[in-house]
C-alpha cells in the first residue's frame, strides 16, 4: 500500500469517528445546553425550536426574598458543610485506625461502610423518618445532616483510610524517635501529609450531601427546604424556568469538582481505596 493511500485511509477513519463522537456529544451536551436555554427563556412553546424571547426575569423571581431559592440554597449549604464536618470528625480517627493500627475484622469493618450504598435505601429513609419523628428530629437540620452523614461516610472513611496508608510509616517513626508524642506526631506529621486525600473525601461528601434527594425528601420536607426539593416541586409544577435555574445551581459545583478532584486524589491514594 502506498503511503498516500494509507494516509487518506486513516483520514477516512474520521468519518465514523466524527459521527459517533458527534452523536455522543449531542446526547451529553444537548440536554445541558437545553437546560441553559430554559434558564433564560422568557417565552418558549411548541412548535418553536428556540425560545421566542430571552431574559432574566425568572432569575429575579427565583432570587427574590419570597422565591425560596435563597432559603433552600442556604439550607443546602449549611447541611452540606455540617455533613462534611461531622463525617470528617468521624472518618479521620476511623481512617487512621484502619490504616495504621491492627484491627480485628478490618476488611469487614471497611465493608460495613459500604452497606448504605449496597442496599436499596428508600425504605430505610422511610423508617429513619419514622424514628426521627418520634424523637423530634424529623424536619430539622440535624436530622437531615445525620442522614447525609450515614450515606457519605463510605467516601469519607475509605478515602481517609487510603490517604493515611499512603503515608510512609517511617516519617511518623522518625518524629516519635525525636521525642514527639503520639498525638503530636499525628497532628504535625500524619495529618498534614494526608490533607490532600482528606480534601478529596470532603469534596465527595459535600457533593453527596448537596445532591441527596431521597433522604431530604422524607426526613427534611416540608420544614427544611433544600435545593433538590425546590427543583422537584418547581419541576412537578411545570415551572421549567425555576426548575432549570435550581438544576444549574446544583450542576455547577458538581462539574467544577469533577474537574478539580483529580488534583487532590493522586494515584498513590486512589490505588489504595477500599483496601
Amino acid at each position: 500500500m502506498s503511503s498516500t493511500l494509507r494516509s487518506s485511509l486513516s483520514t477516512l477513519w474520521w468519518v465514523p469517528r466524527g459521527l459517533i463522537f458527534g452523536l455522543m456529544a449531542f446526547f451529553i451536551f444537548g440536554p445541558l445546553f437545553n437546560l441553559l436555554l430554559w434558564t433564560v427563556a422568557e417565552k418558549w412553546y411548541f412548535p418553536h425550536t428556540l425560545p421566542l424571547q430571552y431574559g432574566f426575569s425568572a432569575w429575579e423571581r427565583v432570587f427574590a426574598p419570597r422565591g425560596g431559592a435563597l432559603d433552600s440554597l442556604r439550607n443546602s449549604l449549611v447541611v452540606a458543610v455540617l455533613t462534611v464536618a461531622v463525617s470528617l470528625a468521624l472518618a479521620v480517627p476511623a481512617g487512621y485506625a484502619l490504616a495504621r493500627l491492627k484491627l480485628p475484622f478490618r476488611s469487614l469493618i471497611l465493608l460495613a461502610f459500604l452497606i448504605p450504598q449496597a442496599f436499596p435505601n428508600l425504605t430505610v429513609y422511610v423508617n429513619v423518618a419514622r424514628i426521627f419523628y418520634e424523637i423530634r428530629l424529623n424536619g430539622t437540620i440535624p436530622g437531615v445532616v445525620l442522614v447525609h452523614v450515614s450515606h457519605g461516610l463510605v467516601y469519607a472513611v475509605w478515602i481517609a483510610t487510603a490517604a493515611f496508608s499512603a503515608i510512609d510509616v517511617e516519617l511518623e517513626q522518625a518524629a516519635r524517635s525525636m521525642g514527639a508524642g503520639a498525638l503530636r506526631a499525628f497532628f504535625d506529621v500524619s495529618l498534614p501529609l494526608a490533607a490532600p486525600g482528606l480534601m478529596a473525601s470532603a469534596i465527595f461528601v459535600f457533593l453527596e450531601s448537596l445532591d441527596e434527594f431521597t433522604g431530604s425528601y422524607f426526613v427534611g420536607a416540608p420544614d427544611v427546604n433544600m435545593l433538590p426539593l425546590l427543583l422537584y416541586t418547581a419541576g412537578s409544577g411545570g415551572n421549567y424556568q425555576t426548575a432549570s435555574i435550581t438544576a444549574l445551581l446544583l450542576l455547577v459545583p458538581s462539574l467544577f469538582f469533577m474537574l478539580i478532584v483529580e488534583r487532590f486524589l493522586k494515584a498513590d491514594v486512589l490505588s489504595r481505596v477500599g483496601r
Binding site: 484491627l103 424514628i131 445532591d211 434527594f213 427543583l231
Partner: protein
C-alpha cells in the same frame, strides 16, 4: 491501652452511625413488612402483589435493560480507550464520556425531561435536520425516558472503573496478539474483557442497586402507571401513611437486588471451581 482497643475505640463512633442510621432502620423495614394491624402476617405482601405486580416486573425489566446497556456502553468506551490507535481520538473520547458522572439524579431527571419531551430539543433537532416531520414527534417520557436517564448517568461511572481495570491489563499479551494479526475487536473480547469481568460485575451490581433505589428519576420522568417501585413506595407513605405495604415493596426490591448479586457470586464461584 493496647493498640487493638485504641483502634476499635477510634472506629466505634463511625460504625455506630452506620448501625443506628442504616442497619437498624433496614431491620425495622424488614420486620415492618410482616406486621399487619399489630399482628404478624403476609397481608402486606398479598396487597403489594395485588396492586403492584405490574410495577415489580416493570422495575426489574427497566433496571435489567439499563444494566445491560450500561455494560455494553462501558465496555465499548473502555475498550476504545485501551485499544484505540489514534491518540487524538482517544483523547477526545476520554474528555467526552465523563461529563454526566457527578451530575445528581434529580438534575438528570429534570434536564432529560426537557430534552426528551415531545417538543424537546431531541425531536426539534431531528425535525430541523429533516429526519422526521413534527407530526411524527413522540414523547420519550415513559419507560424509554427512565432507561435513557439511567444509562446517561451511570455509564461514565462503570466506564471509568472498567477503563481503569483495562489499563492495568498486561500490555505484552495484547501486543503479541496484535503482532499475530488479531483484530482489535477480537483482542477486546478474547484477551482484555475476560481479565476485567470482576470489575465490570462490581460496577454493574452497584449501578443496579443504585437504580433500584432512585426516587427522583421515576418521579420526574414518568410517575404514571406502570412506574418504578420507588415511586410506589413514596406514594404509599405520603398518601396513605401505609408503612406496611411500603416496607413490603422495599423488601421485594431488596430481594431483586440481592438476587443479582447472588447470580454473580454463583457464576464467579463456578468459574473458579
Amino acid at each position: 491501652m493496647s493498640r487493638r482497643v485504641l483502634g476499635l475505640f477510634l472506629v466505634a463512633p463511625s460504625l455506630a452511625v452506620i448501625l443506628f442510621l442504616f442497619i437498624l432502620p433496614l431491620c425495622l423495614s424488614a420486620v415492618g413488612a410482616f406486621r399487619v394491624d399489630q399482628a404478624w402476617g403476609l397481608g402486606n405482601f398479598w396487597k403489594a402483589f395485588d396492586l403492584y405486580t405490574k410495577d415489580i416486573l416493570f422495575s426489574a425489566v427497566i433496571v435489567g435493560l439499563s444494566t445491560v446497556l450500561i455494560g455494553v456502553a462501558s465496555v465499548a468506551i473502555g475498550g476504545y480507550l485501551t485499544l484505540g490507535t489514534h491518540p487524538v481520538a482517544v483523547a477526545i473520547l476520554r474528555w467526552l464520556y465523563r461529563w454526566p458522572m457527578f451530575i445528581p439524579f434529580i438534575v438528570v431527571g429534570q434536564i432529560l425531561r426537557a430534552f426528551l419531551a415531545k417538543n424537546g430539543m431531541m425531536n426539534n433537532v431531528a425535525v430541523s435536520l429533516g429526519l422526521m416531520t413534527p407530526l411524527d414527534a413522540t414523547s420519550f417520557l415513559d419507560w424509554r425516558g427512565i432507561v435513557i436517564a439511567f444509562v446517561w448517568k451511570q455509564t461514565p461511572f462503570v466506564a471509568l472503573l472498567v477503563a481503569g481495570a483495562m489499563a492495568s491489563v498486561n500490555r505484552e499479551g495484547i501486543e503479541a496478539a496484535v503482532n499475530l494479526g488479531a483484530s482489535r475487536l477480537r483482542i477486546l473480547f478474547e484477551i482484555v474483557l475476560p481479565q476485567v469481568t470482576t470489575t465490570l460485575a462490581v460496577g454493574l451490581i452497584l449501578s443496579f442497586v443504585t437504580m433500584m433505589s432512585v426516587l427522583s428519576v421515576p418521579l420526574m420522568i414518568n410517575a404514571q402507571s406502570p412506574t418504578m417501585l420507588t415511586a410506589d413506595i413514596a406514594f404509599r407513605v405520603n398518601s396513605y401513611g401505609d408503612y406496611g405495604v411500603a416496607n413490603a415493596l422495599g423488601l421485594i426490591s431488596l430481594v431483586l437486588a440481592a438476587s443479582v448479586a447472588w447470580i454473580y457470586l454463583r457464576i464467579s464461584l463456578k468459574e473458579q471451581a
